[in-house]
């Protein structure tokens, strides 16, 4: 027999996994059949269509492979613990795999773009800082609730629950790290109407940041619910269990619905405005092959600000001379250690 909670968790994660796919398929030609995302392809129409079709097939095949793995795990193990150790990493894994496919096709498309005759590009001279995309009140409330919840769970003396709460808080920090990374992402503007284009980019940035903050507030709510569960007394045992058991899935689904609806509306508006501009020709830079190692997966250049560069069979080489590479690597290692510690405690 399947545990209904395991089934519900699987269904929720499967919906989240598949929700990310349609925009990736649809956005490839949002500017028309001549384009692949923001790159105008120089080939004839049949070749362009085949290129887009190949991309969609690769994206679909990647998603199916991950879904089959998740389904097999559910059918074979039916275990609650696998939601944490298998299903959630698969959710993360499919996101990364789709990014790799997307990156490979975007880089290939840039090689096949209509040649630009010395097209000028512009860059913003305004520093982009995380603090400019952060609401101080939101951050203070978020941090206060998260840390207070953690303290309450710690005082309750329930070791596995504290480990879960600490893991959730760590994921919270990971989202913040990701947000900081987004702020630093590359912004290239067309030389004509660069000011208006920059305004649009900034709006897209802010919309993305709001989504992140929305996700982080759900994580904080989850921590708060854990604290409620950790501190209930016997008379309230039944009631608090029901509250947390219902409130968490209801809030997660509600958040998903609100975010998807809002995200679709904002994306549609921003894309409609983006189509008024001719996107800039992003300058292409290929890493020095002499600095690539380990079959092209590793790159060594302390002078290169990029963490990931275009190299190797997957067109993805990690710059191991960049200090940020170690920050991200350390994050994943600590996360894996925490999951292992939690597995031992449960």
């Amino acid at each position: 027999m399947f545990d209904p909670f395991v089934l519900a968790a699987y269904a929720f994660l499967a919906i989240v996994r598949w929700l990310g796919l349609p925009p990736l398929l649809r956005l490839a030609t949002h500017r028309g059949r001549d384009w692949f995302f923001d790159v105008e392809l120089r080939d004839d129409l049949a070749v362009r269509d085949r290129f887009v079709c190949d991309y969609r097939r690769a994206m679909f095949a990647t998603s199916i492979a991950f879904e089959l793995a998740a389904l097999a795990d559910l059918v074979v193990f039916r275990a609650w613990s696998h939601i944490l150790y298998v299903q959630m990493p698969l959710l993360l894994g499919v996101g990364v795999a789709r990014r790799i496919v997307l990156r490979k096709y975007v880089l290939t498309a840039r090689e096949r773009r209509v040649p630009a005759s010395g097209e000028r590009v512009a860059f913003s001279l305004v520093p982009r800082r995380l603090v400019d995309y952060t609401s101080r009140t939101f951050e203070l409330c978020n941090a206060a609730i998260a840390l207070a919840s953690l303290a309450v769970i710690d005082r309750a003396g329930r070791s596995p629950m504290f480990l879960v709460a600490f893991l959730v808080l760590y994921l919270h920090a990971g989202l913040l790290l990701w947000k900081a990374r987004l702020v630093r992402q590359r912004v290239v503007l067309p030389a004509d109407r660069a000011d208006e284009y920059l305004e649009l980019v900034d709006e897209a940035f802010r919309a993305g940041m709001r989504t992140f903050d929305g996700a982080r507030s759900v994580v904080t709510f989850f921590l708060l619910m854990l604290a409620v569960r950790a501190t209930y007394w016997d008379a309230w045992r039944e009631r608090t269990q029901t509250i947390t058991a219902i409130a968490i899935p209801v809030l997660m689904v509600a958040w998903l619905v609100v975010m998807t609806t809002r995200g679709r509306r904002v994306t549609a508006t921003l894309l409609a405005r983006a189509r008024e501009f001719r996107p800039p020709a992003i300058p292409r830079f290929t890493p020095d092959p002499a600095r690539l190692g380990l079959a092209g997966f590793v790159y060594w250049n302390a002078d290169d600000p990029a963490v990931v560069v275009d190299g190797g069979p997957l067109r993805l080489s990690i710059n191991v001379a960049n200090r940020y590479t170690y920050v991200y690597l350390a994050y994943w290692i600590v996360l894996a250690l925490q999951v292992r510690a939690l597995a031992g405690a449960l």
Binding site: G118, F123, S124, L125, R186, P283, P305, A306
Partner: protein, 125 residues
């Protein structure tokens, strides 16, 4: 505030960056105290090595136009270059030589210089 880069320009990227920032400072578009992005942000946007932007910033710093704060970008410090009179005249002389050799008359050169100067100092007080 925007920095425009021309891939077909024969000048190296660091020179284009330094010249563009100088023009923005001269034109009053970048005022004293205005922050500039960190070397890492600008290098990342342009897709160039850190050293390329560091060289441009160092040159501007040597001329006393900006102050680089380690790890947190740079700020515009002054609208007055610390170069001497002779140093300032040399590039003007070179540019004028090119214009004369290009066959432009004295009047055309004066008009050209006047237009460029007006464009450059449009936002300056």
């Amino acid at each position: 505030m925007l920095l425009r880069i021309d891939p077909s320009d024969r000048r190296p990227i660091y020179r284009q960056v330094a010249d563009e920032i100088k023009m923005l400072i001269a034109g009053g578009k970048l005022r004293e105290g205005a922050p500039l992005p960190s070397v890492r942000q600008l290098a990342s946007d342009l897709g160039v090595n850190l050293n390329t932007i560091a060289t441009a910033y160092r040159e501007l710093q040597d001329e006393g136009l900006i102050a680089v704060r380690h790890g947190s970008g740079a700020v515009v410090t002054s609208r007055t270059s610390q170069s001497s009179g002779a140093e300032l005249r040399q590039p003007l002389r070179t540019a004028l030589t090119e214009l004369v050799l290009g066959g432009l008359s004295r009047r055309e050169i004066l008009n050209l210089v006047s237009t460029e100067l007006n464009d450059l100092t449009k936002g300056a007080k």
